[in-house]
Symmetry: C2
Subunit: 421 residues, 2 copies
């Protein structure tokens, strides 16, 4: 690696650390003013944003990227409006910083307050969607964190233009200009070096496909908050309301199959499988869903086009209209199956039996466990967080949807009157 790139990245990280110390003490109104200034900057720089984005689009088409990829890359007036709206919504959310989370008085008279504070410097590593630049910069800024943004190579022109809008807005605000910085190169070695700078950068959030996330997790010396994939399971218990089960099975697969909280595996108790499965399969097939089934399910679904399911299928995040089906003999078998194949994201049981529901909620090891509801609700907005920077399937720090509070840590304020032992 060239020393130039090393020192460029180190300089950027040091500036972010310095900015984070000032930003941690910034007032809510200063932070909101900065968000407002960025929103206005986006509105008044539409022309240049669309022009710079067109360069990325042209390059993508020249390089033969898929239509879906090009679409993800594209900025439109509507999408710029969406970013502006996102920033204005952040302004309306309460400032998470400074809140006293816990407070106690010790027998020696010390008052101990646990106070919410920003984490410090957050690195966001993402792929081609340029809106991530604005969304993540806004979320980090509102939560008092300095951010270092490293987007994908396909959107470099767009990201530079967006970062320049942010930079201008911050330069005219009381918020330190280095509070948001874009890594100006897509050199892989620059990313590798950034991931070692744990002295200056306190948290890395990768957003994108499993490959990117694994790369970051395996190469980072800085703590990473991530989710690799969403293999979500729906279990239809022997005492399920079959109407509810069918509605949720079909909608949580076919409603939007490309998202991480859609289900991939449908698990059915053998006692209700004959009554439930054919009818449910009918609706799924009508919606063009392909069914991958175990032997027992195959024997119940003779009238339908099915394929045999393997363990690899049960382990796969399809992100498309395929659904694996598994028949089980008991709740125990269902829980074991979920804990074996689930990715720790979202799992649901449909049952009228409270005891069995509670066992599922307690024993299934995932960020979000549902009783008589769809896994599709795992989302920062649906959970009432007001915003979302991602969903964590990790266990440390944050689990499940992450909003502004999850971008914070805490410190202890201890007040005394001379206590020394």
């Amino acid at each position: 690696m060239s020393n130039d790139i090393r020192s460029l990245i180190e300089d950027l990280a040091k500036k972010a650390k310095q900015a984070s110390l000032e930003l941690a003490g910034a007032s809510t109104s200063d932070k909101n003013d900065a968000l407002q200034a960025i929103a206005r900057g986006l509105e008044s720089n539409r022309k240049i944003l669309l022009e710079e984005n067109q360069k990325d689009i042209d390059a993508a088409e020249e390089n033969g990227l898929s239509e879906a990829m090009v679409d993800r890359l594209r900025l439109t007036h509507e999408r710029i409006d969406g970013m502006v709206q996102g920033l204005r919504q952040l302004i309306s959310l309460p400032d998470p910083v400074g809140l006293v989370i816990e407070e106690k008085k010790r027998p020696n008279g010390l008052s101990i307050q646990k106070v919410r504070t920003p984490i410090g410097v957050i690195g966001i590593i993402y792929e081609s969607r340029p809106n991530v630049t604005i969304d993540c910069a806004g979320l980090c800024l509102k939560s008092g964190n300095a951010s270092i943004l490293r987007g994908g190579k396909e959107s470099l022109h767009s990201n530079r233009a967006l970062a320049s809008v942010i930079g201008q807005a911050l330069a005219d605000s009381p918020i330190p200009e280095d509070s948001v910085q874009l890594v100006p190169t897509i050199d892989r070695e620059a990313l590798n070096h950034l991931l070692t700078l744990d002295e200056y950068v306190h948290c890395i959030i990768p957003r994108g496909g499993e490959g990117l996330i694994r790369f970051v997790a395996e190469n980072s010396r800085i703590p990473v908050i991530k989710h690799y994939k969403g293999v979500c399971n729906l279990f239809v218990d022997a005492e399920a309301d079959l109407e509810i089960a069918r509605q949720i099975a079909v909608s949580s697969k076919c409603g939007r199959p490309g998202v991480c909280n859609a289900i991939e595996n449908l698990i059915v108790d053998e006692k209700i499988a004959p009554a439930f499965l054919p009818e449910c399969a009918k609706e799924l097939v009508e919606q063009d869903c392909e069914l991958l089934v175990d032997e027992k399910a195959a024997s119940l679904l003779g009238d339908f086009p099915t394929k045999p399911a393997t363990d690899e299928h049960y382990d796969e995040e399809f992100l498309d209209l395929r659904l694996s089906i598994k028949i089980v003999a008991s709740l125990d078998e269902a829980i074991s199956f979920v804990n074996r194949f689930g990715s720790g994201h979202s799992e649901s049981i449909i049952t009228k039996n409270k005891k069995r529901a509670e066992r599922f909620l307690r024993e299934v090891d995932a960020s979000s466990v549902y009783w008589n509801a769809s896994t599709r609700f795992t989302d920062g907005f649906e959970f009432g967080l007001g915003a979302e920077i991602g969903i964590s399937t990790d266990r440390l720090h944050a689990r499940g949807p992450m909003g502004l509070e999850e971008l914070c840590t805490y410190k202890y304020w201890v007040t005394g009157n001379g206590q020394w032992k």
Copy 2:
């Protein structure tokens, strides 16, 4: 690395993961019974514990280990009593698992509960003190986590004997036997392999010197909670109560200089330095403390034996009777100094001025910030946590003293009545 060691470690980690799923649902009374059984096992196996420990002591003396090292290694009846007492204290603490931390009802009728759960599998990497084996096994067990213990090579016989007591106690209890496992080899490659098994192990807590902690942090793919060192600062503001300042300066350095929450740097506002420093220095020197001072302090301390302080001194965790002294012109300079040289552990300001105190509390970037009290209070027991597995200077998950709650994560229980969109 031999495949045997790899598969040994992998097998152990898989068993821990399996045990953790059962242990997560264990009742408080079953966990307490297991802790009680371990305590009784320690009491009834004193003879063999002391015999096995003697093998470690003999080897240590043969290898010429320092007296301090040998002392750390040594088990005595008193120290066994201490471990037993620690376990019985854990029994008396509330079970952190299962508590509903937050609860909300969404407009669509979904009830969302944030429920505290164990993290899963925790790896403890430590050095020679054998009591860590029992302390950490107990803390993990009470918080519903399976633990993998990897102690230092000097205490291998002692640790094996302690692990065997734990194993017998668990075998006779309803808690899965694999809930606590000792890595049976001190092969470095076994440790390296363990640190890659993020599929089975969810958190690593290293306990020991900075070298061990850095090694673990740099080689672990599993999230690590740690503190490298405690470089704690005490700032005596221009408006300090000089009596309080002197009492805290002397006691927080000389009370127990070898601990992480003792101070290493004394920062004094130049406006009160002439009135404060000579008198404070007198007491420090009387207690055999060596003073490393900047030029301004040197000119005030002409009557005392001092040495010049360098940046390396300000950055060093002495763990002995040396203290660096720095004179500053302002609160701003003090805060910058603390944020530059402090290790994010514990920092204190002595002042009668509330505004300045609050700026210090807010702007100093450390796990625990004090106003008119000694940094020596950063400790799980002093903070009322009832127990302590360590002190984190990290920002993610836990910061400051870590007790049973900090050994937990959470998950969301979402209850509906058929919601699907």
